[in-house]
């Protein structure tokens, strides 16, 4: 009887403190179902436009001639241009790099690193004797935009392998997301869960679900197409926390967690936002 009670106690503790990633994902979906009972959760891949009808109409009109189109074209051209050694990006990726963004970030069990798509693109370059590209905007963002475009309609499928390092990375990203930081003491969660759909000054806040499906993004505020890590840096700065470098370990862990939370949602990158 005593053993049974101890086992029950441990079960309760373990299931409450150490939820599996899949339990986290399902609980998150339930959170948004409760929060927005009339909303089709799949709409959340469109960020704030899932909540704001007026802004959505403007956005849909903008999608007739989307501002990220130039990035897709430039990205395709760069993607198809061979390196000095005659090889190309297609040689570095499964399926020639077409329709694969939904599998990123992935945890590489050999190196123990989280490989984001941008990381893999630059890895491909250095493996072929080319200089790596700057992480946040420009050619790298354009190539990523093109690869995202070829993945449209696929479902986010981030895998956390059975490796304690992968789970640790996921948990680290999760902790970062839910931890208040900066002089303003805001966690990602404060804006994108508690206040999702609400106005922050003139901007409506997007929800956490679907936040990883549509990158890179052309932001009117930036006047160019940028990567998710550029946005992480901006978010951190806005709450007066010192941002980390794009593709730093902590941001890759954050992307790993955030992307897993959007698993099974439709890929719709690149996108445009205010």
């Amino acid at each position: 009887m005593k053993r049974f009670l101890i086992a029950c106690f441990l079960f309760v503790v373990m299931t409450n403190v150490y939820a599996t990633p899949e339990q986290d994902r399902l609980a998150l979906r339930e959170f948004f179902t409760q929060r927005f009972p009339d909303l089709d959760l799949n709409e959340m891949i469109n960020g704030l436009y899932a909540f704001d009808e007026g802004a959505r109409e403007q956005w849909l009109e903008m999608e007739d001639f989307p501002p990220y189109e130039i990035a897709i074209e430039e990205g395709e051209e760069a993607f198809d241009t061979p390196f000095a050694n005659g090889k190309a990006y297609a040689d570095c990726f499964e399926n020639g790099g077409i329709g694969i963004k939904q599998n990123y970030p992935r945890f590489d069990v050999d190196s123990g690193e989280i490989i984001t798509l941008e990381w893999a693109i630059n890895q491909c370059r250095t493996d072929n004797g080319e200089e790596p590209l700057p992480w946040r905007t420009g050619e790298l963002a354009a190539i990523s935009a093109y690869m995202a475009y070829t993945s449209r309609g696929n479902r986010m499928s981030v895998v956390i392998p059975d490796d304690p390092r992968a789970l640790e990375a996921y948990e680290s990203g999760k902790e970062y997301y839910y931890t208040r930081r900066g002089q303003l003491e805001f966690a990602c969660e404060n804006c994108h869960m508690q206040s999702a759909g609400n106005l922050l000054r003139a901007d409506r806040l997007s929800g956490m679900l679907g936040q990883a499906t549509h990158w890179p993004v052309y932001r009117s505020k930036w006047g160019e197409t940028g990567t998710l890590h550029k946005r992480f840096m901006e978010c951190n700065s806005q709450v007066r926390a010192k941002p980390y470098e794009a593709q730093s370990q902590i941001y890759r862990e954050l992307e790993f967690f955030l992307s897993y939370m959007s698993n099974d949602m439709e890929m719709n990158g690149p996108a445009s936002r205010r």
């Binding site: 609980a27 839910y178 966690a187």
Partner: protein, 104 residues
């Protein structure tokens, strides 16, 4: 006249020495505030909780010190250290509470 000149020279030398002593004390005080601030900020950084404001304050402090305004330099370096202390406090509190916000 001879006596007056000696008094004047003595007074000037005394004033110069006093001034140098005060500047040295302020410079030392600034450096001490800087060391203390950097220690706290390093602690905050280790806890993944550095504020973006701290670096700005430290840069401004350095600028003030270079311009010889040690009073302002000490004030800014001390403030940077306080920002570090507050960031550490947030880190320690959040370490215990962040899990509560995860949907179950």
């Amino acid at each position: 006249m001879k006596l007056n000149l000696s008094v004047l020279v003595f007074a000037l030398l005394a004033a110069l020495m006093l001034n140098t002593t005060v500047m040295a004390a302020d410079d030392a005080e600034y450096k001490a505030a800087l060391v203390k601030a950097r220690e706290t900020l390093s602690d905050a950084e280790g806890k993944v909780q550095l504020w973006s404001t701290s670096e700005i304050l430290l840069n401004d402090a350095e600028e003030a010190a270079t311009a010889g305004d040690f009073e302002l330099a000490v004030k800014l370096a001390t403030e940077a250290g306080i920002h570090g202390e507050l960031a550490v406090a947030t880190a320690e509190r959040e370490k215990k509470t962040w899990q509560k916000h995860v949907p179950k």
